[in-house]
Amino acid sequence: MKKYLLFISLIVMVMLAACSSDEEGASGDEETTIKYAYWDKNQEDMLKDLVEEFNKDNPTIEITLELTPYDQYFTKLDAAASGGGLPDVFWMNGPNFVKYASNDMLESIDESISEDDLDTSPYPDGLLGLYQYEDKTYALPKDYDTIGLWYNKELFDEAGLDYPDESWDWEDLVSAAESLTNPEDETYGIAAFIQDSQATYFNTILAADGYIISKDKTQSGFDDPNTIEGIQKYHDLIHKHEVSPTHVQMETTNATSMFESGKVAMMFQASYMIPQFKANEYTNENVDVAVLPTIKKRSNVIHGLGNVIASNSENKDGAWEFVKFLSSEKAATIQAEAGIIPAYEGTQQSWVEATPNFNLQAFLDMAEVSEPYPVSKDTSKWATIIQDNLAKAWAGQLTVEEASEIINKEMEEILASE
């Protein structure tokens, strides 16, 4: 009999354990608790420092940090949002923002900004714009990523070429790439890869004065001749100028690996690659970064995380204080020292200085000419359509015009149903 009892109590215990995860601590009267959800474990220590700093001025607000790895982050957040149990403050990214804002899951912060007379001019416009929906602002920017032209100094020296700089336009890029391409030993001037849209063709589209999605998020830009020109110019690097590995080659061995092994001399790549290029002994010594070349103008997409407040938060005042602090100059400085580009202008210097080998100023300059990362309510639906069809164009199964036409048609359908 004892054995059975043991067995039953075991089952009961397991069941209880499964049910008790929703337990909620009763909040005291003086002290309030703010739950802050985020996904990057690398930033955990920095966030703890930030909380400590925040508590110096706000001792009555207790912050609980909730780490969820990115793979499960939005799944968990979606479920929490459906059940009305969102954390008070949480990280948000561009592709998911509109979905949350349009379903009234987020608290607009315009009133709080004007009440507190908060100056938003230190944040890049493109970044503030990313978290605006129907003329309302929902987030203060935390950090950002922009795009630069990375190049291999060693290969440039061997070819006797000047390094890329802010005077470069697209023709300069092509002619340098031509001199750097050597089909015999399979080295190429540039890697015109498309596996990461944010780092690549989004930027040539913008530089050619095209657009991916209209500002009101209702129109696709893929019927605009400028958009097509931007894609075509990037496509030509493989199919016309033949200064890039083919799409199949870059599917087999990814473009960044080729760049890291000195097989390609240049590539468009985002600032989020800095840690990787820094950690690799070869690239740390031999590569550097410059601003992107101009086509009709210099431009690129900017993407950064925002701190948002849940609309069902029970402590919106406390949440606002915390969000305000997280995007303040003081918090930005702490972030910069931890190696993340803070969104607050003027605090990035320590971030630039932390990596003297690379000309990181280029990324700050690119932020000045940036546009918001293109998003709508169902970003992933049309993003995969762009990706699929451009892949066909890159593989030579479609022309750029044909691919753009298909993308435009399907994207318009999706946007119309949003």
């Binding site: 979606d78 949002a81 349009s102 498309i194 199949v248 599917e251 992933s380 990706q387 890159w394």
Partner: protein, 303 residues
């Protein structure tokens, strides 16, 4: 008196036994109900809905099934999966029987070989996908390097639409041999040695005994392996996901039904369509399994 009490007691005992019996299967049964049976009906229901944000959905009738019929990618994925299953399963069973028979002999280092053949089973599919992706690399991969020694220009295994499915079948076959081999080995060891002795006394050769004794007596095991293999072959996903990226020019010829299911359910978030896809796949697997059970009378010998 004594005789009247007895059946009563037995009945009580039976009730008691039934109770404990149910209690003991409860953990499995509950798990089955909560994690399999309930979601099955839920999925069936969702396949008739249009999925919105944050778990909102609205009834959409047969919309999703219509969308499936209109989508050439989905047709193609069913075609890919059928080819995969109908080539991979017979191929892997043939190889597995061969390996199992060889490893049923008295040879040196038998356990070492058995372990080696079983290793792919305990390896994570994601890791298998990564390693094979390197082997298949058309520029630096070892397969094309070796082919180059014989002046053969190896194909782009994973990016050529004509080769990609073959490459996936090879990996799929390689990875299931271990499981199949273990099951078949146990089947082989159940065949009485005396039969072989009698056959060899009558002058039967190795090949003759294999086809006349081994295969017929192994057929129940082969049947079991075939049913299980077909079911898992129809659900192939992990290697393809690891080896073929969404921008791969051969993706249309490589993606399986589950690959597209994943795409619609988790990348795009159209869970209604994804539910419809998985339900059609379920129906196909069900029908095929029933057919297999019907056909077994023709070739499976239970003594």
């Amino acid at each position: 008196m004594e005789s009247r009490k007895k059946p009563h007691k037995a009945k009580e005992k039976l009730n008691n036994d039934t109770f404990w019996g149910y209690l003991f299967i409860a953990p499995t049964l509950l798990g089955l109900l909560i994690f399999y049976i309930f979601p099955l009906f839920q999925t069936f229901f969702y396949s008739f809905t249009n999925w919105g944000d944050f778990g909102n959905y609205s009834w959409s009738g047969l919309e999703n099934y219509k969308a499936m019929l209109d989508n050439p990618k989905i047709w193609q994925s069913f075609r890919n999966t059928l080819i995969y299953a109908f080539v991979m399963v017979p191929l892997s069973i043939a190889v597995s029987i061969l390996v199992a028979v060889l490893l049923n002999q008295k040879i040196k280092g038998l356990t070492v070989y058995r372990t080696l053949y079983f290793l792919p089973v305990v390896t994570m599919p994601a890791a298998i996908g990564m390693i094979w992706k390197w082997l298949y690399n058309s520029d630096y991969g070892i397969i094309n390097q070796v082919l180059a020694w014989f002046s053969v220009n190896g194909p782009d295994w994973l990016t050529d639409p004509n080769w990609v499915l073959i490459s996936i079948i090879v990996v799929g076959t390689w990875s299931v041999i271990g499981t199949n081999m273990i099951i078949l080995l146990s089947g082989l060891q159940g065949i009485p040695k005396s039969l072989y002795e009698a056959a060899s006394m009558d002058g039967a050769g190795v090949t003759y005994s294999f086809f006349r004794i081994t295969l017929p007596l192994l057929s129940p095991t082969v049947f079991f392996v075939a049913v299980i293999s077909f079911i898992s072959a129809f659900q192939v996903f992990d290697f393809i996901f690891m080896m073929v990226s969404p921008t791969n020019p051969a993706i249309d010829n490589a993606q399986s039904v589950i690959y597209l299911f994943y795409h619609y359910a988790f990348v795009i978030g159209d869970k209604g369509l994804a539910a419809a896809i998985s339900f059609v796949l379920f129906a196909i697997i069900l029908v095929l399994t029933i057919i297999q059970f019907r056909l077994q009378k023709r070739w499976v010998h239970y003594d």
